[in-house]
Amino acid sequence: MANEPIKVVGIESIEKRGVDVQKLIKLLTAGVGAEFTTYYYYTILRMHCTGLDGEGIKEIVEDARIEDRNHFEAMVPRLYELGGSLPRDIRKFADQAGCPDAFLPDTWEDLTSILRLLLEAEQCAIRSWSEVCDMTANGKDPRTYDIAQRILQEEVEHEAWFIELLSKRPSGHFRRKYVGQSPHVGAQGSLIHL
């Protein structure tokens, strides 16, 4: 009796609405993998924002870094609810990440090379969370959709910030209330621990 499988209505209900849960689990594991590796690599990138101009962008890189960590925090519980899990081995986790590693460029002393890398990482994140939104939209899986769209909103902001720094195209950026505030992921939904 004890081993009888328990029906998970939270999964059944999204399957009935057309979500391929195994496919979704794969995308989510890749998505949180990219957030986690990005958080790690952004730490190195931020350390290398040095000198007079470096000081000017340190804080914005830090906001993006902490918010990417928050994205990991926000989506991982959902992964487990759906029956997925984080790989036991962190090497496997990194190798299945949805975005390539944001390695410190050889030319890091030229700040634009760091900014370009940050921009690429954000653009990859936009694409991958958009995939999750597509798969869960229109009432198919409101819970995953809600978390993914909040993450996506912050990724779009991050992209705009880095484009502004590279090209002067205005992004509407003003400093966060505190570092890594995550206005979309962290606010109403309280998806992360602050």
Binding site: G18, D20, K23, K26, L27, A30, A94, D95, Q96, A97, G98, P100, D101, A102, F103, P105, D106, L117, C124, R127, S128, E131, D134
Partner: protein
């Protein structure tokens, strides 16, 4: 099992379209008059190939710019990303991708059909 997809004229030359057939997302396209059909899921990290583009005989995935031959299903090009020095350091395991899952496709009496397992 064979499934009706659409009318011949629904897929003009050098275009592709996404169909949901029997709960499967199937990408059907035509390149230089020749039809192809494949699973819409990119074998690298699962992006929707319908969001990509056709580059010659290849389907180009918008996620990490891999290209798969639409007729053999083989991964043929990851060069677009290779230009950056960072890409060279990327782990081989991360870069690894299976080939595309292709489906037999045929045109008959003005209609297009695919054979799904």
């Amino acid at each position: 099992m064979q499934h009706w997809v659409c009318r011949q004229s629904d897929i003009p030359d050098n275009s592709m379209k996404l169909f949901n057939i029997n709960k499967a997302d199937v990408l059907v396209g035509r390149i230089s008059g020749r039809l192809f059909a494949c699973d819409n899921v990119c074998p690298h990290r699962g992006a929707s190939l319908a969001m990509g583009e056709l580059h010659g005989n290849n389907i180009y995935c918008y996620m990490h710019a891999y290209e798969y031959d639409a007729f053999s299903g083989k991964l043929v090009n990851i060069d677009s990303l290779k230009q950056q020095s960072n890409w060279r350091r990327q782990s081989e395991e991360w870069k690894r991708s299976d080939d595309l899952t292709l489906y037999p496709v045929l045109e008959q009496d003005g209609s297009i059909y695919v054979d799904l397992p």
